[in-house]
């Protein structure tokens, strides 16, 4: 039983990553009607924002190693440590959470620029063209990252504070401990999702965007510049992918190809959840993440070898064939 719960929890944080990416994909699709194959690349860029932050914070100078007195020995000491001592060390330790300060604005900017510069010209082109151009974009972004950071995964530190396990089973009398960082990831994911829902449901901006999703032309006729709002939504979706990517780095060392792996699954998530349904994307994200983790249990994977590799796709096929609209898809949205 404990094993099942633990595996369930393991699925939850991966599910959070899927859900965040799928949320962004759905936002973009729902507002702009564009299928964004570059969204995985945006997730990857977010992860590399964390790498960059870490890199910047640990810029070092050579200083004399005080522990060796026989000869002149030099070690790399980050400037931050030279300047602020222990406090500098703490900053470096917290580089991944701090990277959000870089990731959110940078990704937002990249998102809006992409929308203005590229995606906008593809609204009236066929879906196939949108897929192709964003696919090309994903290749280009991935390769640019590779020229700067190389092809190998770059591990990122988990802050000391989040090292270790949280005994979350204790209140229920269960002996379950869960890595603190992953718990944090899950909580942040939930907060971001609630933030997005709140923004869409309870603000004027959200109301306009929702109206635009329903009937773009009508909103325009009412004299609202829906285009500007949609550009912001695209930036927002990119920023969400950036947050998801940056915070995922301690769990999975990023490399330039990670985006595509997440993208394929996120698409499946979107399809299962229902194209254009934000709630469906979140629900399906968690569901598939958890399902993937649970079937990885030895009991099940011994019974049906390889099930953990195919379960997500199998679910997608079954859902698409039995319920073409997805779990929570609205009627009439991309049903064919």
């Amino acid at each position: 039983m404990d094993a099942i719960i633990l595996q369930f929890l393991n699925g939850v944080d991966k599910g959070a990553a899927y859900a965040l990416i799928a949320l962004g994909l759905t936002l973009i699709f729902g507002t702009l009607g564009v299928v964004n194959f570059a969204h995985g690349a945006l997730f990857m860029l977010g992860a590399f924002c964390a790498v960059t932050t870490n890199h910047l914070l640990t810029l070092s100078q050579k200083v004399k190693d005080p522990s060796i007195t026989f000869f002149e020995a030099y070690i790399d000491q980050p400037y931050l440590v030279t300047w602020y001592g222990d406090f500098g060390q703490t900053i470096i330790d917290w580089s991944v959470p701090l990277s959000l300060l870089l990731a959110i604005p940078v990704m937002f900017l990249i998102g809006t620029l992409l929308e203005r510069g590229l995606i906008r010209h593809f609204y009236n082109r066929p879906h196939a063209d949108q897929i192709l151009v964003t696919f090309g974009l994903a290749i280009v972004l991935g390769e640019i990252v590779r020229t700067f950071y190389g092809a190998n995964p770059i591990p990122q530190p988990t802050p000391d504070f989040f090292q270790g396990q949280v005994p979350i089973g204790a209140p229920f009398g269960l002996d379950i401990a869960y890595p603190a960082w992953r718990l944090m990831y899950f909580i942040v994911g939930i907060l971001v999702m609630f933030g997005v829902f709140a923004l869409l449901q309870f603000t004027r901006f959200g109301m306009v965007v929702r109206a635009g999703m329903q009937d773009r032309q009508m909103v325009q006729l009412l004299g609202i510049n829906i285009q500007a709002r949609f550009t912001l939504v695209f930036g927002m979706a990119a920023a969400i992918a950036g947050i998801a990517g940056a915070l995922y780095t301690p769990t999975l060392p990023p490399n330039y190809e990670m985006g595509m792996e997440f993208l394929v699954i996120s698409f499946v998530v979107v399809v299962v959840g229902g194209m254009g349904s934000l709630g469906g994307a979140v629900l399906a994200g968690f569901m598939l993440g958890i399902l993937e983790a649970i079937v990885a249990l030895p009991v099940i994977s011994d019974l049906i070898p390889g099930i953990n590799q195919v379960i997500i796709y199998t679910v997608a096929v079954v859902v698409l064939l039995t319920r073409p609209r997805g779990l929570m898809g609205r009627k009439g949205v991309m049903e064919d």
């Binding site: 090309g136 394929v264 390889g306 997500i312 698409l320």
Partner: protein
């Protein structure tokens, strides 16, 4: 088929046959790259039958390529080193897998179809890497071994005295001898082109184009689109399987990386680059990409510096650093950029570009109607 189609076939055959003669002029005179031209031209032609005619964008074609390769290598291992049964088997297997996949994926259209095929290909890739290791030999890739059964070869008494056997065709060596491999690929490619030409011009092909332009209207006139779609998907899968079999024939090993999504993407790139819906376009795209791959990926910084030696020294080094990011290891960057530019500015690919050029110089009058096409949905 019209007269001009035979003319086209003739031109294509002439190009393939004379390639070894003029190949060296573009620094592509060696068998390996010429085989790639033929094989990837073949797969692009098959992909174009699906995407160009029906507008269904499959992102999983590399899966069939991989299946074809595995089938061919197993055929070599189990039965005989002769190429002919191997490529027949790989064609059939490619078709079978396409039938299963198409049965499911073709229930949906548009982006759902693209996503489903992409998901399927990824699934097969990860299966080939993990669970199916007894069949695929996982990460190492499937290779020939000394102790392979080769039932038919042994029964016939054909067995190499030492070392690994090489593939052969009717007794002639293939994988250990340069040009034979190319000739097989070229002949298969010409036959494949001919079949694609026939399909495009047949009433079946016209149906497929009808599906592309308006599927709803097609079904209102009482035609079920699905059987047509499944048929063309299977044909397209057979082309890919055949290409995989050919790849394994000229170099008898098969690895899962042939099924990775980048490989599927590359097939899409070739077709788009050359020109979707045109007959020559995909082959040209395959040729361009394979040629660029062979050339650009071998460049390194010193080659670039030599090429830029005419520049003043002060900017030469900087320019070399920048340019070298786009070649060698980073040639995918150039590929991605070229691809994006094509999709943005020239959706019809190189063929459209040529037509526009021809139009500029006043040759536009005899523009062929069938070859030109609008971007596919």
């Amino acid at each position: 088929m019209r007269k001009r189609d035979y003319f086209m076939l003739l031109i294509f055959a002439a190009i393939m046959i004379t390639l070894p003669m003029w190949g060296p002029l573009i620094d592509a005179g060696y068998p390996d790259i010429m085989q790639r031209f033929a094989v990837f031209g073949l797969i692009a032609v098959g992909f174009n039958l699906l995407f160009g005619l029906t507008g269904y964008l499959s992102f999983g074609h590399a899966a069939f390529l991989g299946v074809g390769s595995y089938t061919a290598v197993w055929c070599f291992k189990l039965f005989t080193m002769d190429v002919i049964p191997a490529i027949i088997a790989s064609t059939i297997m490619g078709g079978l897998v396409a039938l299963i996949l198409g049965f499911v994926a073709l229930r949906r259209s548009g982006i759902y179809f693209s996503i489903l095929t992409l998901a399927f290909a990824q699934m097969m890739y990860s299966l080939a890497y993990s669970v199916l290791t007894p069949l695929t030999n996982g990460e190492t890739g499937l290779q020939l071994a000394l102790g392979d059964a080769r039932v038919i070869d042994r029964a016939m008494g054909v067995n190499p005295e030492s070392g690994l056997p090489s593939t052969s065709i009717l007794g002639f060596g293939v994988s250990n001898q340069g040009m034979t491999g190319y000739w097989i690929c070229a002949i298969v490619a010409i036959v494949g082109f001919y079949i694609a030409l026939r399909i495009t011009r047949s009433s079946f092909g016209i149906m497929l184009r009808g599906i592309k332009s308006n599927q709803t209207r097609m079904s209102y006139t009482g035609l079920a689109a699905r059987p047509y779609l499944i048929t063309v998907f299977v044909i397209s899968g057979m082309y890919a399987g055949l290409a995989g079999g050919l790849l394994a024939s000229v170099d008898p090993l098969a690895g899962a990386e042939r099924m990775y999504w980048t490989a599927s993407g590359e097939i899409v790139l070739m077709t788009i680059l050359g020109g979707v819906g045109t007959l020559f376009g995909p082959i040209m795209g395959a040729g361009i990409i394979k040629w660029l791959e062979a050339k650009l990926s071998t460049f390194n910084e010193s080659v670039v510096e030599q090429a830029l030696a005419f520049l003043p020294d002060s900017i030469e080094h900087g320019a070399a650093v920048v340019v070298s990011k786009f070649v060698g290891e980073g040639w995918h960057l150039s590929l991605g950029i070229i691809f994006m530019l094509i999709v943005i500015f020239l959706p019809g690919g190189v063929m459209e570009g040529l037509q526009r050029l021809a139009g500029l110089f006043g040759f536009g009058k005899n523009k062929q109607a069938g070859a030109n096409s609008t971007p596919a949905e």
